[in-house]
């Protein structure tokens, strides 16, 4: 047997057929859907007289447009378009037998939070969803990637996808992180290094001491943003941390079956000496907390840096891009990042809304209050399970006492499809994944940071180097 990477092992195990010169037909083990991108797929299926092949392997949830104020979920949904999508999802699931976690379910949450939380996500599986942040699930050693609506329809009808093999990149993060430096800072630094197109055509497999030391939550944060580096999927080899996280979750095998599964999962990691198409290295020990200053996630710098000048770039396309970005962001070259004041705080999204994220943010704000210049600070747990856990630990009280709003689970201000929208011209320290123009709201200015950095910015009213704070990292 030739030496294989984890990606190749999972690929090989899921190939239904692969005629020469054609894409492989890849079997899909778990298909996750949400209200935003699947209505047209169900409509297409119906129009062609086709059925959902495996409703038992398909899981639906409402997340993108759901209100995050609980009482609003009991009222008619104000936005008629969103209401239409919720009704369509409910109807489509009912007609086809797909399990739905609707907005009243105690398990509702962002699709990429609830998959792992319920144990739907498991090592060695192929997982797809009509959402680019499906890469999150790769943290368990699964092959997980985002697809378009036509592909959703394809998976509904056939439980397969036509796919070309990807190239592989081994992203090695060495060293031990300093206190105050987190998974979010690792992935932002990686994107800064490879660029937002650096991973196009590739699957990233993350490894090295710094990755091994991370919790599952941290690994999910890293895999989640693989797509922002252009890689359709990100993966971390499963290990004892993975198995410990999984055991006892509702959809995870129990007892002897679990032990057998672990034996199988242990064969997944890339063989020693398996060849990757590219290797990227990052020294975790040298890493500082990161902040994006521009309009894509690759426009990022350490908290100690200043806003760069367009002239500092050699490539004219980049110069133009940076000029445009600084104009949109309302930033002047040379301004220290710690001197940039913020208007709003958003702690949430499929990148950073898990219990670990909320705990660390709560430790930063405990006993303090948001600064006078902060116009609003939101904490949106990634799921109702996370929310309940946080409340049982009293974190909601810590946040509200500090002046934050404590909300119900959903995508919220990461994408602003409900009413959680960043007003034009306002600057937000956000734990989400995209700082594209208008992403959080037309004219809104997004700075991507870790939960610790966002919490600290809320208290100070501007960015601060969280390494200077006396707060335990975990």
């Amino acid at each position: 047997m030739p030496l294989r990477t984890m990606y190749e092992k999972i690929w090989d195990a899921h190939i239904v057929n692969e005629p020469p010169g054609q894409p492989g037909l890849l079997y899909i083990d778990r298909h996750l859907i949400h209200e935003g991108t699947c209505p047209q797929a169900f409509a297409g299926l119906k129009a062609a007289g086709r059925k959902v092949r495996r409703p038992d392997l398909t899981f639906a949830v409402m997340d993108h447009s759901v209100p995050t104020i609980t009482k609003d979920r009991f009222l008619p949904i104000v936005d008629p378009d969103a209401a239409g999508q919720f009704a369509a999802l409910e109807r489509n699931c009912k007609e086809t037998g797909v399990r739905l976690f609707d907005m009243h379910s105690a398990n509702q949450g962002i699709v990429h939070i609830i998959g792992p939380e319920l144990g739907i996500t498991q090592p060695g599986l192929t997982i797809v969803c009509g959402d680019s942040h499906t890469s999150t699930h790769g943290a368990f050693g699964a092959l997980a990637f985002g697809i378009g609506t036509s592909e959703i329809e394809h998976v509904l009808a056939t439980q397969c996808l036509s796919q070309f093999r990807s190239k592989t990149t081994n992203v090695v993060v060495t060293g031990k992180l300093h206190r105050g430096v987190t998974a979010k800072d690792i992935i932002l630094a990686i994107i800064g290094k490879v660029g937002i197109a650096g991973g196009n055509g590739h699957v990233f497999e993350y490894g090295g001491e710094a990755i091994r030391a991370l919790s599952m939550e941290g690994r999910m944060t890293i895999c989640n943003m693989s797509i922002e580096g252009g890689a359709r999927a990100g993966m971390v080899a499963p290990d004892e941390t993975t198995f410990a996280y999984m055991e006892g979750r509702p959809f995870v095998p129990r007892g002897k079956d679990f032990q057998e599964s672990v034996v199988r999962w242990k064969t997944l990691p890339s063989d020693k000496g398996a060849k990757f198409d590219m290797v990227v290295e990052l020294d975790g020990h040298k890493l500082a907390p990161q902040i994006t200053w521009g309009t894509n996630p690759g426009m990022v710098a350490p908290v100690t840096a200043s806003v760069p000048a367009p002239e500092s770039y050699a490539d004219p396309d980049q110069q133009e891009g940076v000029t445009r970005a600084l104009e949109y962001m309302g930033l002047k070259p040379g301004t220290k990042l710690v001197d940039v004041p913020v208007d709003r705080i958003f702690i949430g999204s499929c990148t950073n809304s898990r219990i670990d994220d909320l705990r660390v943010a709560a430790r930063v704000v405990a006993g303090k209050h948001i600064a006078k210049n902060i116009k609003g600070a939101l904490v949106v747990p990634g799921s109702r399970v996370v929310k309940a856990q946080a409340e049982s630990e009293g974190l909601d009280k810590v946040f509200t006492a500090a002046g934050f709003e404590w909300r119900d689970a959903g995508c919220s201000m990461c994408i602003g499809m409900n009413y959680d929208v960043l007003p034009s011209g306002e600057r937000c320290a956000s734990t989400s994944n995209r700082n594209f123009e208008g992403r959080q709201g037309k004219g809104g200015r997004t700075h991507l940071v870790s939960p610790m950095m966002a919490a600290a910015a809320a208290i100070a009213g501007h960015f601060v180097d969280v390494r200077d704070l006396d707060v335990a990292a975990d």
Binding site: V16, N17, G21, L25, Y27, G36, T37, P39, Q40, R54, D56, S65, T70, F74, D81, G84, Q85, A88, F101, H104, S105, A106, L118, I120, D131, S132, G146, I147, G148, S150, E151, E153, H154, A157, T158, S162, I196, A197, N200, G201, I227, E228, G230, R232, G248, P250, F251, V252, P253, R254, D317, E320, G321, G416, M417, R434, F436, E437, G438, R439
Partner: protein, 214 residues
């Protein structure tokens, strides 16, 4: 899906790199139930000023580009979100071809599913096309998929690569779900062999009675 063979049309130059799908179709338009009608909102935030007044500084509103059907763009076109609303918008607006030095993976894939041909050309050739488009009002290109060439009336001719399988699907306008269903016996055999299933042990609440809001 509509078949694609050759196309001749007016070229619109959108000389920017890293154009993301959030710009193509902003989030407020992702709440539809159909694949139609996204052309009107394509590049909405760039294209319109408050009150939906056309922004005269944005390329789609330049009178010279009215009726364009070939979109020429910078590298890493279509990065970000997987939303297929982006190619739906491009097609609905009237573009049948995109030409760029590179694309993000999901967007590239989504184009083929909708009968749009994304042509990849080297950076220098794309720059030459930008020059010609910007300097010649009414500049047109002919894109020939069977021959895999892009050419203009002045004798310029560039060859491009495209995967033979994707090319064939586009040329014939094939329904790829139909194609996959031809392998139904292989899919069933795979399922018998591997028995993909979910097990559930702890109760998972589907729709628990919720406490009434205070």
């Amino acid at each position: 899906m509509q078949a694609f063979t050759t196309h001749t049309g007016l070229v619109l130059a959108l000389n920017r790199v890293n154009v993301d799908t959030d710009q193509m179709i902003p989030k407020q338009f992702l709440k539809g139930l159909t694949r139609e009608g996204y052309g009107r909102v394509l590049f909405y935030d760039w294209r319109y000023l408050p009150g939906e007044k056309p922004n005269p500084d944005f390329e789609l509103n330049f009178p010279r580009y009215k009726g364009s059907s070939i979109l020429l763009a910078g590298a890493n076109f279509g990065c970000g979100s997987s939303r297929e609303h982006a190619p739906w918008g491009i097609l609905d607006y009237g573009f049948h071809v995109v030409i760029a030095p590179s694309y993000a993976d999901i967007f590239y894939n989504n184009c083929f599913k909708n009968g749009i041909l994304p042509v990849t050309l080297p950076q220098e050739e794309v720059e030459e096309l930008f020059k010609r488009t910007e300097h010649n009002i009414g500049y047109q290109l002919t894109v020939d998929l069977p021959a895999q060439t892009v050419s203009d009336a002045q004798g310029l001719k560039y060859a491009f690569e495209v995967d033979p399988f994707r090319k064939n699907c586009l040329l014939k306008g094939l329904d790829d779900i139909g194609l996959t269903l031809e392998h139904e016996s292989d899919i069933s055999a795979y399922e018998r062999k591997t028995n993909p299933h979910v097990s559930q042990f702890a109760p998972v609440d589907m729709k628990s009675p919720q406490p009434q809001p205070k």
